[in-house]
Amino acid sequence: MTGPAARPLLVGTDLHKAFGATTALEGATFAVDPGEVVAIMGPSGSGKSTLLHCLAGIVRPDRGTVRFDGRDLATLTDAERGALRRSAFGFVFQFGQLVPELSCAENVALPLRLDGVPRREADARAIAWLERLEVADVARQTPGRVSGGQGQRVAVARALVTTPRVVFADEPTGALDSLNGERVMDLLAGAARESGAAVVLVTHEARVAGWSDREVVVRDGRTRTTELLA
């Protein structure tokens, strides 16, 4: 278990968000320290994905603040938030959201290329990450030709290749069988801890939440924190 840090890396305070007449968040609060793995749990429609999107600067909350490293995300322009997501955040989604036309290696290298890293160097780093996540053999394949578990590991490699400070994972094992799901979580949590990245993990499975240091339960748009034993 990671010990408490002097200052949380990412803090969401009193977050409110509604989509039309539907209230998704109603005063949710959340914090994650550097290197910490936090699971956001809750039933379907409770607002956990919305909370993750607000924390990642994908969705602007109607009320409340999100601070990353002391900076209020609301004060950043779209381009600045885009750059932040590109360089400091990493994302893993339920279905990977890999670009189907790019090879797995190109998918992993994509965030680096977007950051201006030369192609050769980006490719080399992508291959290294694929090796680390045990999917180097599918580097030249397109996502449509690899299994779900392999695809998700490629997505994890893509999330970690930029050495992000926070990895956001939205139901990363939702589309996988339990064996593959465990392997993906092993690799995600392990690699994140090795690189010192914090992980914000949205899941509704207690088994997946077992990889986290701490659980935050979202119910009806509000948060409740539970300390876990390692």
Partner: protein, 761 residues
């Protein structure tokens, strides 16, 4: 359940699936229906064109007032005098006729209940509206008489025609075009279209219709990817491959049938609007636009058949497996051999036509020509996917937008090729058409030789007693505000042996423009040498002007002629100063003037009005450097109108397809933005995704279009010439679709390129 029953059930299931998936399904089906409907409407319009032209020809033939017979018609109770009035208003012709019955049983033309009496005019509905509008006062002096009625549809070529029948009591049969007839509708044999013009029409029809067919093929594939996923789900619950095909067929069939209904609706709507549309002087009554039955049935059968066929072909490249994974059968590369079959067949069909001796008057077989051209053009749609696949396979990754675009094209370049096929076919056809056009333009356009730098118009009064004198013409020109004029009088003289020549009477100032005169004084006479073979009357020789005898002055001096300011030809014949002209012996003298107008607005229209005041048969013609055949102009305008409709259709097709693809990829694009991809990177990749296949399509179009153009030129026996400028212009118009589609998809892409797009609830 019987096999047929099972088939029907599966087809029905497919149709139900097309509309049962909520708003998304409905909007996809509606989009297909609208797309197919637009294509069907254009096809129906094309199928109705021959009927409309036939109806128009029948009406114009029924009112025809030229009688071709060896013996002149004798005056009687059933005869009518008719004269043409050449009225032009701005850029439009007004068909004017003066009529004067010679008996109680004189015929009257279709569209009129009776002949107008002297001083009365019956006008077409559009002319009536024009005269009642703000331009009315500018045109009214040229419509001679009090308006007493309106010409009915039966007497008009179309609803947009400007026409009038004016009653007179001062017409006499004579050299000024007044003729005697005893019936309407006695037409002589039409000369028929020139072979080059006929081929031009065939090429134009094929060029305009093939992209429409390609568009229909693309429209039935709207929403293809979602449909593939749905079919995978059906496979999961036990549908075998054949069942999946039938279900997909049912879905396509529904879209096509709805498209037919929509197309019929669009066609009926367009038909109502047709009465307000004009192409040059051509307009059609809505009732004339009736698709030929055979063609309408063909469309009703072919469109559903094409839609099912295209869907089945598309399914052939898919591997639908029960786990919902739909993979492109990309492992099997497209083969070139059969794809080349169509263009080669097209050229083989055209080659025998090369033996047709057009110069000797042999006519080209239009069906063979149409089939050959269609095969070459449709062949482009077969070759293009192969070419796109081959070329993009060799492209290397580069900057991120380029890599994203190239990889997407490598994954399924066929889809992109399908979308740009319409442009490629249209551009290839347009290049071929343009090549043939240039030849037709040369063949149908003549250099007038007019001195347009110095003169704007020519005024001719008709010949005969009681016609305006040169002095009256000068006064009219002064009233019209002419800056300069060359006024002279002319008459045709004839020798006993039938040889003819011309006598021109004018001041020394004017004669100096017509011939090289060392000296000139009133009373002088000259003999102008014309071109080779032209008879120059000898001094003192005897001639006739109508019935009057006239003798060439014995002191007439031979002089060299100058080019005419009207037609550039040499001035020939006898030139007389006023004092040398014995007007009693030259009764046929009529006045003519080359006129320079001042620059004020509508100066030409004012000149036409002043000329009309001299008499309704006074002719004013604008001087132009070139003069094109009227039929050629109509064909050209028709083709331009058709080309615009097709380009709009293709643009709409590309736009819908681009929006569809963006919609299908919205979550992926939102995810890309979520992890920090700048929207401009995605915008550039989307632009490149369109630009690369369009560039390849245009390259194929230039090759195919130029080759087709060369073959067509050989067919009509014209020298091969490639108009590089016109080709580049056509290619530029085709390429303009890329930025246009990019701009129009911009707002939708902007909405998609927001990380909020990841939200699913």
């Amino acid at each position: 359940m019987s096999r047929a029953g099972a088939w029907a059930r599966e087809l029905l299931l497919g149709a139900r699936l097309a509309v049962s998936g909520g708003r998304a399904s409905w909007s996809r089906t509606a989009m297909t229906a609208v797309g197919v409907g637009l294509g069907v409407a254009l096809l129906l319009l094309a199928a109705a064109t021959p009927t409309a032209l036939d109806a128009r020809d029948a009406r114009t033939a029924a009112r025809d007032d030229f009688q071709l017979s060896d013996a002149p018609t004798a005056r009687g109770p059933r005869t009518l005098l008719v004269a043409d009035v050449a009225v032009r208003f701005r850029d439009e012709n007004v068909r004017g006729r003066l009529v004067q019955p010679e008996g109680r049983q004189a015929p009257f033309p279709p569209g009129l209940a009776r002949l107008p009496g002297a001083g009365e005019v019956v006008v077409s509905p559009r002319l009536r509206r024009l005269l009642a509008g703000s331009d009315g006062p500018l045109l009214r002096p040229r419509v001679p008489g009090r308006i007493v009625g309106t010409i009915a549809d039966a007497g008009l070529s179309g609803p947009g025609e400007l026409a009038f029948w004016a009653g007179r009591d001062d017409l006499r049969v004579g050299p000024d075009g007044v003729r005697r007839i005893d019936r309407f509708g006695d037409t002589g044999q039409s000369e028929g279209q020139s072979p080059i013009l006929a081929l031009l029409v065939v090429v134009a029809l094929v060029v305009l219709l093939v992209p429409v067919a390609v568009f229909v093929g693309a429209a039935v594939r709207f929403g293809g990817e979602e449909r593939d996923r749905r079919l995978a789900a059906l496979s999961l619950v036990g549908a075998d491959r054949r069942m999946v095909r039938r279900i997909a067929g049912g879905e396509a069939l529904l879209g096509a049938l709805l498209g037919l209904v929509a197309g019929a609706g669009f066609f009926l709507g367009a038909r109502q609007l047709a009465s307000g549309a004009r192409v040059g002087d051509l307009s059609v009554f809505p009732g004339d636009l009736r698709p030929a039955t055979g063609l309408a049935v063909l469309i009703a059968v072919a469109v559903p058949a094409v839609s099912v066929g295209v869907t089945q072909l598309a399914l052939g490249r898919l591997a639908i497996d029960p786990l919902g994974v739909v993979r492109r059968g990309g492992a099997r590369p497209r083969r070139l051999a059969w794809r080349l079959a169509l263009p080669v067949l097209g050229l083989l069909l055209l080659v025998p036509l090369l033996r047709t001796d057009v110069a000797a008057g042999e006519r080209l077989d239009p069906w063979l020509a149409a089939a050959g051209i269609a095969c070459v053009l449709v062949g482009i749609t077969a070759v293009l996917p192969w070419l796109v696949e081959r070329v993009v396979r060799g492209l290397r990754p580069g900057p991120v937008p380029w890599t994203l675009a190239v990889r997407r094209l490598q994954a399924d370049g066929g889809a992109a090729a399908r979308v740009v096929s319409g442009i490629a076919v249209a551009v290839a056809g347009a290049i071929a058409l343009q090549t043939l056009f240039a030849a037709a333009e040369d063949a149908s356009t003549v250099q007038t030789g007019a001195d347009v730098a110095r003169y704007d118009a020519q005024v001719l009064t008709t010949t005969g007693p009681g016609r305006p004198s040169a002095e009256q013409l000068r006064a009219a020109l002064r009233r019209a505000g002419a800056e300069a004029a060359l006024v002279r009088e002319k008459t045709l003289i004839e020798r006993r042996d039938g040889t003819t020549s011309v006598v021109t009477v004018a001041s020394c100032r004017v004669l100096r423009r017509l011939a090289v005169l060392r000296s000139c004084a009133d009373g002088d006479a000259f003999l102008a040498r014309g071109g080779p073979g032209v008879v120059v009357p000898a001094p003192g020789s005897a001639w006739r002007d109508g019935r009057a005898r006239w003798r060439v002055p014995t002191e007439a001096r031979r002089v060299a002629s100058r080019p005419s300011v009207i037609d550039g030809g040499p001035t020939e014949g006898v030139l007389l100063t006023p004092a040398a002209a014995d007007r009693r012996a030259l009764p046929g003298l009529s006045a003519a003037a080359a006129v320079r107008l001042d620059g004020r607005r509508d100066a030409l229209e004012h000149l036409r009005n002043e000329a009309a005041r001299l008499g309704p048969l006074t002719v004013v013609s604008e001087l132009t450097a070139t003069r094109a055949d009227g039929e050629f102009l109509v064909v050209r305008r028709g083709i331009v109108a058709g080309a615009i409709a097709v380009l709009v259709l293709i643009g709409a097709s590309m736009l819908v397809s681009a929006l569809q693809q963006l919609h299908e990829r919205r979550r992926l694009l939102a995810a890309l933005v979520a992890f920090g991809t700048p929207p401009r990177t995605i915008r550039r990749s989307v632009l490149l995704e369109t630009a690369v296949p369009v560039a390849l399509g245009l390259a194929v179009a230039v090759l195919a279009g130029t080759a087709l153009g060369i073959v067509l030129l050989r067919l009509v026996g014209e020298p091969v010439r490639i108009d590089v400028g016109a080709t580049l212009l056509v290619v530029g118009v085709g390429a303009a679709v890329v930025p246009l589609v990019t701009v129009l998809t911009g707002p939708a892409l902007g909405r998609i390129l927001r990380p909020e797009g990841l939200r699913t609830e």
